[in-house]
Symmetry: C2
Subunit: 155 residues, 2 copies
């Protein structure tokens, strides 16, 4: 009772949910199946059956989430035809979807650090094969360490 922590309980000015990109993103990416389906897409798994088997996702859920991703403009459904088969469909990331890569990359870094024993995959520069990691970069192109960052209202 004597040495209780004395945190600063002064509350920041409330940042409205609907004016905050972080909060709005939470409504899109705050769903495990959405994230796992996007993982498949980044791993170039594009067919309904393949995604379904990889993830063991209930078929109705996969249909639902692919629909949601298409409505959001994150993925598209494209027809294709293999020799001796009828037209089928495959699912691909749009630019908007590919732009979400850093979200998945950040999850990969964190998961590899805290949830996985020895990770199998890594993010590399495709040309040099140099291993890549995420960093917060200032306007001069220099990385800024975590402890130095702050969340502030725009000027």
């Amino acid at each position: 009772m004597s040495n209780l922590a004395k945190p600063n309980l002064r509350r920041r000015a409330r940042v409205e949910i609907n004016e905050c990109g972080m909060a709005q993103s939470a409504f899109v990416f705050g769903d495990k199946w959405i994230l796992l389906i996007m993982r498949e897409a980044f791993y170039a798994v594009v067919r309904f059956e393949d995604i379904q088997k990889d993830l063991s996702i209930p078929r109705a859920i996969l249909t639902n989430r692919l629909g949601r991703l298409i409505d959001l403009g994150i993925m598209t459904k494209q027809p294709y035809q293999e020799a001796g088969a009828r037209v089928r469909h495959s699912y691909h990331l749009t630019l908007k979807g590919r732009k979400a890569f850093k979200i998945l990359a950040a999850m990969m870094e964190w998961g590899d650090e805290y949830l996985i024993q020895n990770p199998k995959m890594q993010i590399v520069d495709g040309t040099t094969k140099s291993h890549l990691r995420l960093g917060l970069i200032n306007e001069l192109g220099q990385e800024v360490p975590q402890k130095q960052i702050a969340l502030e209202p725009k000027r």
Copy 2:
């Protein structure tokens, strides 16, 4: 029918869910309330009532998710005491939780680009006030453009 897209349908070797940090992270962060509660934590909102009001989250759900975050080691519950009041509790990110900042930062960038009209908040260097953004950085400390990256098995 003539000019159907001809995507590469060759499937990558399957990356097992339980050997993939990205997939395992999806089970943690693939929940909108978990993400929104962590947002509150990064915005220094630490009390049950304050979080509940900011997010309009059902109280039972908030209790459940705070418990989950504590079990995961992402947050801790700390006692504190204000003058003329009994001991209360506040919720804080652990190091493990703070290390997830880049996940939220990536969501903020994406959400500010695609979901929000004019964003109110930004990530800055606390000392220089320079605006920060996320980038993929190679071993030389240089940023590598999106189109150049690849996901590969570890050597």
